[in-house]
């Protein structure tokens, strides 16, 4: 359904050009949830902002983003506007900044239908109420008359999801959809996304730094580091048998409630690299416990190493080496 090929995103900054995303290729199938894991600056959000033509003005994307036969890179605003909010919708981390503060919830929901479906007045209102019910918002008629600030964080995120679902999209891009929410409310929203995926067969791209959130919802996972994909595979493979040293490190340094740890946590030493000063070899090499001389010389390509799996690491002997 969505196919990203060799996507590169560069930003012109005062200190020169920065490649936020480098040579990323991904596919999302209908009804599938693809989890994108990475830390701040890994390029996980910018990959999809570029795919939807939502880059900041100093950003430039190259490569191909195919959505059901349309190339979105270089597509005109008119074409993008028939797709965004209609066939592909987005859910962001902070619903307060992505909803219009001075417009009642009902009008914002109706606007989506007016824009994409040409519906007006009563029809749009009826559908908005139905959608608020669908996402389990109590007293939907009353909520339509409220402004975003009058709603709690959890309700605002439900309104965002309702808005994203208004036109029955084929794909939802959810960028840290639960990061700003409390853990009990996060559980509600994740349940809702799971329900949407299963009952409506909507594809979901779930962008998050939280491995637990990915474990609960994703079918396949792509791990990003310093603007590049470092490992891809099914969710079970990534969690049970991570094959890139970075994926291993991330999983090891996350304390878990199901398997409590005592004493010092395993860590990934050092800090994420500055994208403006990337060395020639593997970007993870300075922090990697498995580093070889060859890692410093040449950037490892993303290579398939098992059916449906790929990694950007030259080593195949992590088990023996660790």
């Amino acid at each position: 359904m969505l196919s990203i090929e060799n996507l590169t995103v560069r930003f012109a900054t005062q200190d020169g050009e920065v490649a936020a995303v480098s040579d990323v290729s991904l596919k999302v199938a209908k009804g599938e949830c693809l989890g994108i894991v990475g830390e701040s600056g890994s390029g996980k959000s910018q990959t999809f902002m570029a795919a939807l033509g939502l880059l900041a003005t100093n950003g430039q994307a190259s490569g191909r983003v195919d959505f059901s036969g349309t190339d979105l890179i270089g597509a005109s605003e008119d074409v993008l506007n028939t797709i965004r909010g209609n066939k592909i919708s987005m859910i962001f981390q902070d619903p307060m900044t992505s909803l219009t503060p001075h417009m009642k919830v009902g009008r914002q929901l109706a606007e989506v239908l007016r824009q994409h479906r040409g519906l007006s007045g009563e029809d749009a209102r009826t559908q908005a109420i139905a959608m608020l019910k669908r996402v389990h918002i109590p007293e939907p008629e009353r909520r339509l008359e409220m402004y975003p600030h009058e709603l709690s964080g959890g309700l605002r995120q439900r309104v965002m999801i309702a808005m994203a679902l208004m036109c029955g999209p084929e794909l939802i891009i959810a960028d840290e959809p639960t990061t700003a929410l409390d853990v009990t409310v996060q559980a509600q929203i994740l349940d809702l996304l799971r329900d949407v995926k299963e009952s409506m067969r909507t594809g979901i791209v779930l962008i998050t730094h939280d491995l637990g959130v990915i474990a609960g919802l994703a079918d396949r996972v792509a791990v990003m580091y310093a603007g590049r994909l470092v490992e891809t595979g099914t969710v079970r493979e990534i969690f049970a048998d991570p094959q890139h040293p970075y994926t291993r490190g991330l999983l090891a340094c996350t304390p878990r409630l199901d398997d409590p740890t005592y004493g010092a946590l395993p860590t990934i030493p050092g800090q994420p690299p500055n994208l403006q000063r990337l060395a020639a070899g593997c970007s993870f090499a300075p922090r990697c416990p498995f580093v070889l001389d060859a890692c410093l010389l040449e950037r490892p390509p993303l290579r398939p190493f098992a059916p449906g799996r790929a990694k950007a690491c030259i080593r195949d002997d992590l088990e023996r080496a660790s």
Partner: protein
């Protein structure tokens, strides 16, 4: 040895409601919290946004005046005149490392500021030596002493904040969401640093966080707060292995587990709705409006903190029945 004794602490903020001719109602951010903290102990405080965990931390440090109740230090009440002197012993680390550091001061000046406040007799060379020594202890290169906060990464800024808190060798450090703004790979480094400083200096920590996994790892005891009240307070292992309060049970069940099979198979206790407004808390038990086990008594009487075993306190009318039904 008991370092800190908090008794029936209340922090209420007056909030104006109803416009020009409105009146003031109390927002009960912390409403009757009591606990003791031993030397060398880490107490984790967990709860969702608005539960009063940060306000409690600030009231303990006397950064906020309590509305009622007492905070005793080594068995003695602290009169207002002694608060300045007390702060030598109790320090704080905040959530947002960059925002809590003055951008116009160098790392060295930031870390040295408490020394200058409390040891005005120290010479410049001695201050520099102590600052560089502390920088090395928290994992910063002493050679970076003249750099400014923006030249450091988020994790390094948090290390500066920790060095500033540790420079006076305090007995207690209150950490308010110290790792929440950090990337996953940096979080573990800072948690390890706090634990090793505790070992080295016999420090007590109050670790305030919404992250139940990190709190489990670092704490000896854990307090669960909801709308300004203690729901449960117990040793780490008994709280997580056998939570007695339905809120604690729901919180723990809501934490996603980074294991696809376990996460998809686990028993879900989905709480409906959001926490109610602290301006208008429910009568009786404040959790009853979201509690799957609420009964008639829950709206009538505030549940007292009841003993559910050695060192395990729970504020729920129905906890024995709930435990028996599990």
């Amino acid at each position: 040895m008991t370092l800190l004794s908090v008794r029936d602490l209340k922090v209420h903020f007056p909030v104006k409601v109803g416009g020009v001719f409105g009146h003031s109602v109390p927002l009960k951010a912390v409403d009757g919290v009591s606990f003791d903290l031993a030397a060398g102990e880490t107490l984790g405080i967990v709860g969702e946004s608005g539960c009063g965990k940060s306000t409690l931390g600030r009231a303990i440090l006397h950064l906020l005046p309590p509305t009622a109740g007492t905070v005793a230090w080594l068995g003695k009440d602290i009169p207002p005149s002694a608060v300045h002197e007390m702060r030598r012993e109790m320090q704080v680390v905040f959530q947002d490392p960059l925002a809590s550091l003055d951008p116009r001061m160098t790392a060295g000046d930031i870390i040295a500021e408490p020394l200058r406040n409390y040891h005005s007799d120290l010479g410049r060379a001695e201050i520099t030596a102590r600052v560089q020594d502390m920088m090395a202890k928290v994992g910063l290169l002493p050679g970076m002493i003249n750099r400014y906060p923006h030249e450091f990464s988020g994790g390094q800024c948090q290390r500066i904040g920790i060095a500033r808190a540790m420079i006076l060798r305090p007995k207690l450090v209150v950490c308010d969401e110290p790792v929440s703004a950090l990337d996953v790979s940096i979080r573990a480094q800072v948690v390890n640093l706090l634990m090793s400083l505790q070992q080295e200096f016999g420090l007590s920590l109050i670790f305030i966080s919404h992250d139940l996994s990190v709190v489990r790892h670092i704490s000896h005891r854990v307090m669960v707060l909801y709308l300004g009240r203690i729901m449960e307070l117990a040793d780490r292992d008994s709280l997580y292995a056998a939570p007695r309060h339905p809120y604690t049970q729901a919180l723990i069940a809501a934490v996603p587990i980074p294991d696809p099979d376990k996460e998809r198979a686990k028993r879900r206790i989905i709480l409906t709705g959001d926490p109610p407004s602290p301006l208008n808390p429910p009568s009786g038990c404040v959790f009853r409006t979201r509690c799957p086990h609420a009964t008639a008594i829950c709206s009538q009487a505030v549940p007292p903190l009841d003993s559910a075993g050695p060192g395990h306190a729970v504020a729920c009318h129905n906890w024995p029945e709930i435990a028996a039904s599990l």
